[in-house]
Symmetry: C2
Subunit: 336 residues, 2 copies
């Protein structure tokens, strides 16, 4: 599982990549602060090894911002607030800035009262759900984040694609071990390559559980936020619909139940007991959720992020279009 | 999916069954109030169609209570409490009474502040997780309940059975539609009949997601409660270990984000849009989570609960052992 770039990859450093992403978004009209946040979330996906949510999305984001499909400087509104909850309307802006703002508000409330939750409606793709759940970790809180997404999968026994990949993420702070970060799409690709609910098609292998989790995410995100849900979301592959995405966030303070130092020491023991247990024949390692992504992030921070040649080329072309510098100071691979 | 008793079944009414279960537990030393709660949770499982958590468990429960493996009159202790959290030590008593007490405390806190969570440690099997999550429904709250359980399944790439079936339940209030109640074991039986994580063995069909959910439940329940977790739980089929089970509960007030009447009307629309969508060939109905159990409960309340002959016989025999009346006033089947 070593993180080796393949021959066509260009290896770039985190910081110049984030700077470039922020510059591209700024040039597309996004305010500097929001652009920096969105860039950080994109690069986090590349660091963690989920490039489908990474900087490779920049050309499409810039296109949507320039077309006005996504509002570059949206009127973000605080719609409802209580001591333990907060609801934002993101004004059809980029997903990440409003999502970070909402999760940070939830965390602040959980720091005061121990538990809180929140939503963002009228927003767009926020990248990796785990990013937001993980914002709770430094505060000794358990973070939860979810989003609905364009419709891509059929309900069990159904024929129409009604639910998105609808990820749900949980982040739990550990001590010496990497945090437990379970960030999963509620869908999977089955043997034929088709997207089906986690568990599989039909009920024989419990696909109804994955379908239930996908619908749960659409309810917690879309319905509870008063946002778009179910049939009001576009189908995957269709043109995006303005603001047809919503997110859900929650945070619990570990200290509400157990001394955080004790909790983190116990969680270390729990995680190690799983990792140190005997392996199946042919396997030399058992992973716990988030561990691989944690190691990739560490390795890529140290040695650089491999960008496939087509992504590199697309970003260079984007830089040309936007007349911004394209200096990713590659730390490896062939200089451009 | 009509709820028809098979020929060997005895059909009994809910109330006499609950009265009998409570009498059996009382005779085994449990205080009357606790016995009534535990009986209600057992019968709820039979009403919902999950008899493995139903009154069929009474003989084993009575055996464990008499042997002292489960404490009949445990010293339940409030270990920690904040405005949004509560932790109980159940003193190795029956699972249900302490679980109801904890979930009711969580709900009361969420009524005041909007969000709360809680745990029970040093306890035993609580039956169906959905029962506790559903306690939140009349309060226009979203309820969550989970438990760890004897070790039955291997982690992805592992060889030792380290995790239990570890169910997680979410209950969400609807309007005219039945509530959305997703109550799922994080494990499934694969083609060979073996218990594997939801998603399957290995990672090809995302079994690591089910493994992650099972470990999540063990962390939220066992580790966060300061209770038994991981290797400290008995293996499935082994003798129970005193108090080696913990639960996690949470509740969010819908009104923290959206007017509850609006939310419930929107959720009705969401659920109907799924149910009314086109069906796969060979299927005439799409279910949403909890719907089938809701209908079974309604039908069994009206027409009685079918008890398989072996369960009936075991309960009759238990009544003899305990010298308590066995009058389930069967509403159908052959009178005993």
């Amino acid at each position: 599982m070593a993180d080796v770039a393949t021959s066509g990859d260009r290896v770039v450093r985190e910081q110049p990549l984030a700077t470039f992403a922020a510059a591209a978004l700024t040039r597309a009209g996004v305010a500097a602060g929001d652009a920096a946040v969105a860039a950080r979330v994109l690069v986090a996906a590349d660091l963690r090894g989920t490039p489908e949510h990474g900087v490779g999305r920049l050309p499409a984001l810039v296109r949507d911002l320039r077309a006005g499909t996504i509002a570059a400087q949206p009127p973000v509104a605080l719609v409802r607030e209580t001591p333990t909850s907060v609801l934002f309307d993101a004004g059809n802006g980029l997903g990440a800035p409003a999502a970070v703002r909402a999760m940070e508000a939830v965390i602040a409330k959980a720091r005061t009262l121990g538990a809180a939750f929140g939503s963002v409606r009228n927003t767009n793709d926020f990248g990796i759900a785990g990013y937001y759940a993980m914002l709770a970790l430094p505060h000794d809180q358990i973070g939860i984040a979810s989003t609905n997404a364009p419709r891509a999968v059929t309900p069990t026994f159904g024929r129409d694609r009604l639910l998105g990949e609808n990820p749900i993420a949980f982040a739990i702070p550990a001590g010496a071990e990497p945090p437990f970060v379970l960030d999963f799409a509620t869908t999977v690709h089955d043997a034929s390559g088709e997207l089906v609910p986690l568990g599989g098609p039909g009920t024989e292998t419990s696909g109804h559980k994955g379908y239930g989790l996908g619908l749960l995410a659409d309810i917690l995100c879309g319905v509870l936020a008063g946002g778009a849900f179910g049939p009001d979301l576009p189908a995957s592959g269709e043109a995006p619909r303005a603001g047809a995405v919503s997110h859900f966030f929650a945070a619990f303070a570990v200290g509400g139940l157990l001394d955080p130092a004790r909790f983190k020491a116990d969680l270390d023991r729990e995680l190690r007991s799983v990792k140190d247990s005997p392996k199946s024949p042919g396997y030399d390692r058992i992973y716990v959720a988030g561990e691989l992504e944690h190691e990739r992030t560490r390795d890529r921070r140290a040695r650089g992020i491999p960008l496939p040649a087509p992504v590199w080329d697309a970003l260079r072309s984007l830089a040309g279009d936007l007349t911004i510098p394209f200096d990713l100071t590659p730390s490896g691979g062939t200089p451009s």
